[in-house]
């Protein structure tokens, strides 16, 4: 563990203070851009900066080399104050080839810095990127500060003494590029050196380190940079931190929920981007009561999780939109069985295969309504990487209290993005208490659909004497659980199941809000867009604008006080990465005249998108 105050930034020359920096590494899928970006993130976090990251990669593992289709990017935002988003526009773009430049140029701030590997801007590279002229030479980058770094050739020269082959030497380019960025922002090399030493063979590690330091030296000696910068530490809440991605936090949250409820976790999934990492992660936690199951398809995944829940385990299945679609029938089954179950949907761009690696929030209707019959279930959405931890624990709390499946929504942006997390000592968290009915030895009939004050039925575990009972998807008599086609009973059961889900409102924490509880304009967001909306609203408020922000974790049922709150604003804007799904739900539920700010480009909102909407809405009022 490191004490962040003890880390002295290594800076030379006339270093200037910078408050907030956004860097994006971009190159071929195989260029190691994800490693470069995440190393800058870890290093910055260790130096006390707040951070957020945004990996952006193609669906193909190795798309055609050198072409725009194969460009993989990783964006890091580090700052000396709270960071709520990975940043709209980048201060520094590292472009490892012409295609990377072409794809990412739009993201660079006016007058921003572009570091290019000039060696890659040869005829072939330009042709693959479909550049007619070399953009470095034709003046088209005039407004930017372009740093021409011979990354490939200098890397090869630098690593020669490590004696690695040509291929490996070339693969060290990302470390050279990182070295330049590390120099530019006074980043400490230690963490990355530790990473290299634990990750690679001795030979390769030596080469990587040589590349890293040569990159640093290049930065220091080249005339191209006017100066370097220092980004002083932020002042986060005291505590112990680590970086965490959304998918990691989901995995940690699930093991913790199992521990808090004294259960074993059964996690069942069929591989699908961007949810697979949850399975990968959990499959390494068997010591902590985790049983993972890579099922033959998504239907088997959810069905086996339901079987596990019947047996008394924490049954969980995770997938993404297309896989959730396959689970639909079984979700209705779980609603009928009234067994606790957690279903995770890491949303991606849809419909169908859609944009497998990109962000979208278009599965909200599917989560809330996407089943045959009257089949409501609670739906929660995580607001960012670290919030996934708490969200999934809350989901299990609700699932067991109400004996119901619960849907947890994440998204590609949250799943792969990372942020510092002040992680808890799990012994300090509130236990999840579950009462299983005890054995009955006097021969009286067991009532599997008898209801408690929450309208939940008992969770009787196989193996308990006197409680043998049968459940199934056919309608059951309330109380006895016998098969029943009685019209009145069916209506009673439909209403009971609906009311039970509504009771989740009494288990929720109150609405989390920025700004006044009434006024001119309210921005409403959900899921991974919390940080962006919060930052935009904070800035606008800083400029004296009358705007508030609420972020919803609970999408079904909605929190109790939501209706009144919405009605207390003259304008309500619902910002979401779909064509207006939460908007429709809110309008239908509360009859409020809300309007939508929508984006479906496979990209998150930028703070500017929200800021522009705030301005438009406030102008319209005048």
């Amino acid at each position: 563990m490191n004490e962040c105050q003890q880390v002295e930034p290594v800076v030379r020359g006339s270093a200037q203070n910078a408050h907030s920096v956004v860097v994006r590494f971009a190159g071929d899928s195989g260029d190691g851009m994800q490693v470069a970006g995440s190393q800058v993130a870890v290093t910055s976090a260790l130096m006390g900066n707040d951070i957020a990251t945004f990996p952006d990669f193609p669906a193909e593992i190795r798309a055609p080399k050198g072409t725009p289709a194969g460009v993989s990017g990783f964006q890091v935002h580090f700052a000396s104050s709270d960071v709520l988003t990975p940043g709209d526009q980048v201060d520094v773009l590292v472009a490892m080839n012409p295609a990377a430049l072409k794809v990412n140029l739009d993201a660079v701030k006016p007058h921003g810095t572009i570091i290019v590997d000039v060696d890659a801007f040869d005829r072939k590279g330009l042709r693959l990127a479909k550049y007619e002229n070399n953009p470095i030479e034709d003046g088209s980058l005039g407004e930017y500060q372009v740093v021409e770094a011979p990354i490939t050739s200098q890397t090869r020269a630098a690593v020669a003494e490590a004696g690695v082959g040509h291929k490996i030497a070339t693969r060290c380019r990302n470390f050279f590029a990182m070295g330049i960025v590390y120099w530019l922002y006074g980043r400490d090399l230690d963490a990355t050196i530790r990473f290299i030493d634990t990750r690679f063979s001795e030979e390769v590690a030596q080469a990587d380190k040589l590349a890293l330091t040569s990159g640093w030296n290049f930065g220091e000696t080249t005339e191209a940079f006017e100066r370097s910068y220092v980004v002083p530490p932020a002042k986060p809440k005291p505590g112990t931190y680590r970086n965490v991605t959304g998918n990691e936090a989901l995995a940690f949250g699930l093991v913790t929920a199992a521990y808090l409820s004294g259960k074993e976790l059964f996690y069942s999934a069929y591989p699908i981007t961007p949810a697979s990492d949850i399975l990968h992660k959990l499959s390494r936690f068997s010591e902590c009561g985790v049983r993972t199951f890579q099922a033959e398809d998504e239907i088997a995944a959810i069905c086996s999780a339901i079987g596990a829940s019947f047996g008394g385990a924490l049954g969980v299945t995770g997938s993404s939109g297309p896989g959730i679609a396959l689970k639909t029938e079984a979700l209705g089954y779980a609603v009928m069985l009234e067994l606790p179950l957690v279903v995770i949907n890491v949303q991606r761009g849809g419909p169908s295969t859609g944009l497998p690696t990109k962000v979208e929030q278009a599965d909200l209707f599917q989560a809330v309504m996407g089943r045959n019959g009257e089949a409501p279930m609670p739906v929660l959405a995580a607001s960012g990487p670290s919030d996934c931890f708490e969200t999934v624990i809350e989901a299990w709390r609700i699932a067991t209290k109400l004996m119901t499946p619960v849907m947890v929504l994440s998204d590609a942006f949250t799943a792969n993005g990372a942020e510092p997390w002040n992680y808890p000592d799990i012994r300090t968290l509130e236990p999840i208490s579950i009462d299983h009915p005890k054995a009955m030895t006097h021969g009286e009939p067991f009532m599997p659909y008898e209801r408690d004050e929450w309208l939940a039925r008992p969770w009787a575990l196989p193996g308990t004497e006197g409680l043998t009972h049968r459940i199934g998807g056919i309608e059951k008599q309330n109380g006895s659980g016998a098969i029943s086609y009685d019209p009145q009973n069916h209506e009673t059961m439909v209403n009971l199941r609906a009311q039970k889900v509504k009771n989740a409102r009494d288990l929720m924490t109150s609405l989390e809000m920025e700004g006044e509880r009434s006024g001119e304009l309210l921005i409403v967001s959900w899921g991974g867009m919390r940080g962006t909306c919060r930052e935009a609203v904070k800035r606008a408020r800083g400029e004296g604008k009358s705007v508030s922000h609420i972020h919803l974790r609970h999408l079904n049922p909605f929190p109790k006080d939501l209706g009144d709150l919405l009605r207390d604003f003259k304008q309500v804007i619902v910002a979401e990465l779909n064509s207006g799904q939460l908007l429709q739900l809110l309008r239908a539920e509360y009859l409020v005249d809300a309007s939508g700010l929508n984006k479906v480009r496979g990209q998150p909102f930028r703070i500017d998108d929200i800021a522009a909407q705030i301005d438009t809405s406030l102008e319209e009022k005048n």
């Binding site: 505590g239 902590c288 069905c303 069985l337 043998t468 049968r470 199934g472």
Partner: protein, 335 residues
């Protein structure tokens, strides 16, 4: 202390049985109720899981734990249950449509993984619950609700599929052959690993007589061969016929015709390869007599055996989970 005669647990539930009077499912249920008390397992430690279909109502009629599933998915549900509750004896009840059409994938994978569950496929060669459409085991030519001109395609053979999935226990029996069915169910219960049993089941409403050759006391001995481990394949009312391996084929021989039992194929249910078992599974009426009994019973590690089992106690888990959270780079911000 005097020995108190403990009454046998009763496995019958109080639910009204709703199959058509005369349905083969009754006979199977009655055999099941008869053997359960002899297995030495308490009702609360047994779970029946089913899919959807007439046959899949089975769990409601037994006083054990039970899950009436969704169409085709019972093996998947049972896999999750058995994974988390190795202490339970888990049975799956399924139909030919349920197991071989909509749920075929789950059947293959439960068998391939050798999940310790007992799968009973009630084969009536028709869709019962949905009123008589052809199923994946319907023989070509049969007129059904959805094939007025006769069913077109060749059927699937449940035993062949089970063997191809490397099932460790594969058997066949007949609904009304009480003695035989009882023995096979007991063998399945005793098997450690996935057990697959095809049960010929008469649906007299939509496909009456589909298995008369194997059911009718007057002819069945001439049309079926009861397999006995280590014994030659002899059959026939007079026990004067047998099955012989010639080259890569099986043939029926008359024993009086100069052939002796010594020339016949000797059944080996423990054979590690399923090649001969596949040949036996391929014996089809009317070309050949059909085999009844246990085709295969081998011992392989079960799904649970093959999965990691290093979970520590709940109390000891807190430290482990805290360690997981601390893995990688962490840093402390002072107060």
């Amino acid at each position: 202390m005097s020995v108190v005669e403990k009454s046998q647990p009763n496995f019958a539930s109080d639910q009204e049985v709703r199959w058509c009077p005369g349905c083969g499912d009754f006979a199977i249920l009655s055999q099941m109720k008869k053997i359960m008390p002899t297995l030495g397992v308490k009702p609360e430690n047994v779970a029946f899981v089913s899919g959807i279909g007439c046959s899949s109502r089975f769990p409601y009629y037994l006083e054990t734990y039970g899950m009436h599933g969704i169409h085709g998915r019972a093996p998947a549900i049972a896999t999750g249950l058995k994974r988390m509750r190795p202490d339970l004896q888990v049975w799956v009840v399924t139909g030919d449509g349920d197991a071989l059409s909509i749920g075929c994938t789950h059947l293959l994978h439960a068998l391939r993984r050798n999940v310790d569950i007992k799968i009973l496929l009630f084969n009536n060669r028709i869709y019962g619950l949905t009123k008589g459409q052809f199923s994946p085991t319907t023989p070509p030519g049969l007129v059904t609700s959805s094939t007025p001109g006769g069913t077109a395609h060749e059927p699937l053979h449940p035993l062949s599929i089970a063997l191809a999935s490397n099932a460790t226990f594969v058997a066949r029996s007949v609904d009304t052959n009480a003695r035989h069915l009882g023995d096979v169910l007991r063998r399945a219960a005793a098997h450690r690993g996935a057990a697959f049993v095809e049960i010929y089941q008469n649906c007299h409403i939509f496909n009456d007589g589909a298995f008369d050759h194997a059911k009718d006391a007057a002819v069945r001995e001439d049309h079926t061969v009861e397999l006995v481990h280590g014994q030659p394949l002899v059959f026939g009312k007079e026990r004067n016929k047998g099955i012989r391996l010639v080259g890569t084929d099986l043939e029926v021989v008359e024993l009086d015709n100069g052939r002796s039992a010594g020339d016949l194929l000797v059944h080996d249910e423990a054979s590690q390869t399923s090649a001969i078992a596949q040949m036996l599974a391929g014996m089809e009426h009317p070309r050949m007599p059909e085999v009844l009994g246990v085709l295969r019973d081998i011992d392989l590690p079960t799904h649970n055996d093959l999965m990691p089992d290093d979970t520590v106690s709940v109390a000891a888990r807190a430290d482990k989970i805290n360690q997981l959270l601390e893995t990688g780079e962490t840093w402390t911000v002072g107060g």
